[in-house]
């Protein structure tokens, strides 16, 4: 325990000396300003306006939200002025969707919404899920995304920068001849970064979701944060031991960050669907975090068994790489 305390204290000193802690505080401040003064104010989109040209009155049960137009020219003018709007040309008897701009996959929901307004209310009434207001939903959604980015990108870089410094100074080799269990060296690093990620998660959630909302979801959020933090810290540790210098790491970092973040965000936050995404481990962890933010934490034991096995496997790889590093020449 005394040895662990010594390692932990030194790792905290290294973290402060590496200014990593200031980067984390800077991120926290930037994210909080963005959510409170940017995202919830400017990203709250109004409903799409739907314009209907139906000279023969073929559509019987149109919603009150639909704006009828008298001619195709008027429809064109309306869409030119309101580029997010959706036009419906029902002059042939069958409704045809007209978008000023859009893409086939991403804007299907705009078309679906417009068509739903042509049908009777009950059958197509949207189901209300949860009790969050729009603002609460936005705050939780963005806090979750930024926490994920922070741990996957910034935290991952943090552990690598601290370890590369130790590697360059050669002090890792000194630990090979000290009377301490070698696994403590790895565990101490993990503890420091886990603790910093947990503190970050608490503060980010508190500042952006609010006190009462945070209290309700915090235990589940911390569990998911811990899982993600351990995976990324071990991955960062392993990369640092296996790669020669920070330049090589920067390349690996780009590949890993790209592989981890891009498909996960695209699948989780847009209409783009990838059939294989369910097999992407980070997608599962991201959804675990998101579900925790929305008060429906993952309960499946399979998820927890898989993440525990993944963390254990990474730990073994890191230990092996660490032992090799200690045996290297100066």
């Amino acid at each position: 325990m005394k040895n662990f305390y010594s390692l932990f204290k030194k790792d905290c000193q290294m973290m402060i000396a590496g200014k990593f802690i200031f980067v984390a505080f800077g991120s926290l401040l930037t994210y909080t300003l963005f959510i409170n003064f940017g995202y919830i104010n400017f990203m709250d989109m109004q409903l799409y306006n739907v314009y209907l040209y139906d000279p023969q009155g073929t559509q019987q049960e149109v919603s009150e939200l639909i704006r009828p137009v008298a001619s195709l020219e008027e429809l064109d003018d309306a869409l030119l002025a309101d580029t997010n709007g959706v036009g419906i040309d029902a002059s042939s008897g069958t409704p045809n969707i007209i978008l000023y701009f859009g893409s086939e996959k991403v804007d299907n929901h705009r078309a679906d919404y417009a068509l739903s307004l042509l049908r009777s209310g009950d059958e197509y009434a949207a189901q209300i899920v949860g009790t969050n207001t729009t603002e609460q939903k936005q705050r939780k959604e963005m806090s979750c995304e930024l926490l994920f980015i922070e741990i996957v990108a910034v935290g991952f870089l943090g552990i690598a920068s601290v370890l590369f410094k130790e590697k360059q100074m050669g002090v890792i080799r000194v630990h090979a001849v000290l009377p301490l269990k070698r696994s403590l060296f790895v565990l101490s690093k993990l503890a420091v970064f886990l603790l910093s990620d947990l503190v970050f998660a608490v503060l980010l959630t508190l500042f952006n979701v609010g006190f009462s909302g945070t209290i309700r979801i915090l235990p589940a959020v911390l569990v998911q944060t811990a899982i993600l933090s351990l995976i990324m810290a071990l991955t960062g540790f392993g990369c640092t031991m296996l790669l020669n210098d920070f330049k090589q790491f920067s390349l690996a970092y780009l590949v890993i960050a790209l592989f981890v973040a891009t498909p996960v965000f695209l699948s989780a936050n847009t209409s783009i669907k990838m059939a294989w995404i369910g097999w992407h481990p980070f997608y599962q962890v991201y959804m675990g975090l998101k579900n925790a933010y929305f008060g429906t934490p993952v309960t499946s034991p399979v998820y927890y068994i898989c993440t525990a096995c993944g963390i254990a496997a990474l730990f073994v790889v890191v230990q092996t790489a660490f032992r090799k590093e200690m045996g290297k020449e100066g």
Binding site: K2, N3, S6, K10, Q13, M14, A17, K165, E166, M169, G170, V171, R173, V174, A176, V177, L178, P179, L180, K181, M326, G327, E329, G330
Partner: protein, 282 residues
């Protein structure tokens, strides 16, 4: 203290680094391990300190087989000075030593200030970060780290490297002091002067084989030409004569007015190394 029998080690299938080394190091002895780069001396030291595993042969330390010797208790009894001064550059000398000494039992530790004073460390640098130190000062802090736990067995790798002549003399004095205290020292070096002045016995290692092992004196004597070169003045002229040592038993066997110098033609340890290994030490 150290007993090595038929020690072998291989980095992968075709890269055998050690080919059956045999040597012993007695309690309180300074044992020099000399060899050029890539000869296997670092590999041997890493096996002895438990950094490398998977060796062949039999090695015992403190009377215990190497397979079970590398316990926390073992690491409490040894001190290791690496070839390069591995220290936390952002921490001061004091903080580095406090950190590294925190892993040893308090009753075993020497006073940090006292050790640094012994190593003639500049006191105004005590609290400055190591990044601002010269190589010699870093080497002093590294030596202090190796000595801080009062080791019974000390592994020194190029201890005087990076030191000016005064620093090298100081380090030799400290190593001698450790010997007087009964510390066993395993000295790996390129520096023949260090080996000659400090070591009780030396082993020459090349290509993973020990090619000679004896006291420096005996190694030089065995290969001596047993001749001396005398420079003298006779009838106002300066002359030089080489004679066999037995000829001296009855006095100087030639007429002379004044002897200017007498030089034995005994080889240096470096000459011996080149003779045994066929290569220099660089």
């Amino acid at each position: 203290m150290i007993e090595v029998k038929n020690l072998t080690f291989s980095y992968g299938k075709d890269k055998q680094a050690l080919h059956g080394l045999n040597f012993t190091v007695g309690d309180g002895e300074i044992f020099g391990f000399l060899g050029p780069n890539g000869s296997g001396k670092s590999t041997t030291q890493k096996i002895l300190t438990g950094i490398l595993k998977g060796n062949g042969g039999k090695v015992s330390l403190f009377g215990q087989d190497i397979a079970t010797a590398h316990t926390q208790d073992f690491f409490q009894k040894i001190g290791v000075l690496f070839e390069f001064p591995y220290l936390y550059a952002n921490l001061s000398a004091i903080d580095n030593l406090k950190y590294f000494s925190s892993f040893y039992p308090a009753e075993q530790l020497r006073d940090i200030g006292e050790v640094l004073e012994e190593l003639e460390f500049k006191t105004d640098f005590l609290k400055k970060p190591v990044s601002s130190y010269s190589k010699g000062m870093r080497q002093r802090v590294s030596m202090a780290r190796a000595l801080i736990n009062n080791p019974k067995l000390l592994f020194l790798d190029e201890p005087t490297s990076g030191l000016d002549p005064t620093g090298a003399v100081l380090f030799r004095k400290i190593i001698e002091e450790e010997r007087r205290k009964g510390t066993t020292i395993f000295l790996t070096t390129h520096n023949m002067l260090d080996a000659d002045l400090l070591c009780d016995r030396v082993a020459f290692i090349t290509n993973g084989n020990i090619v000679a092992l004896d006291t420096p004196k005996r190694l030089k004597e065995q290969n001596s030409s047993h001749r001396i070169v005398t420079t003298y003045l006779y009838q106002g002229r300066r002359e030089e004569k080489t004679i066999e040592i037995p000829e001296l038993e009855a006095g100087i066997p030639f007429p002379h007015d004044e002897i200017i110098s007498i030089h034995s033609e005994e080889p240096t340890l470096e000459d011996m190394f080149i003779q045994y290994t066929g290569r220099g030490l660089s």
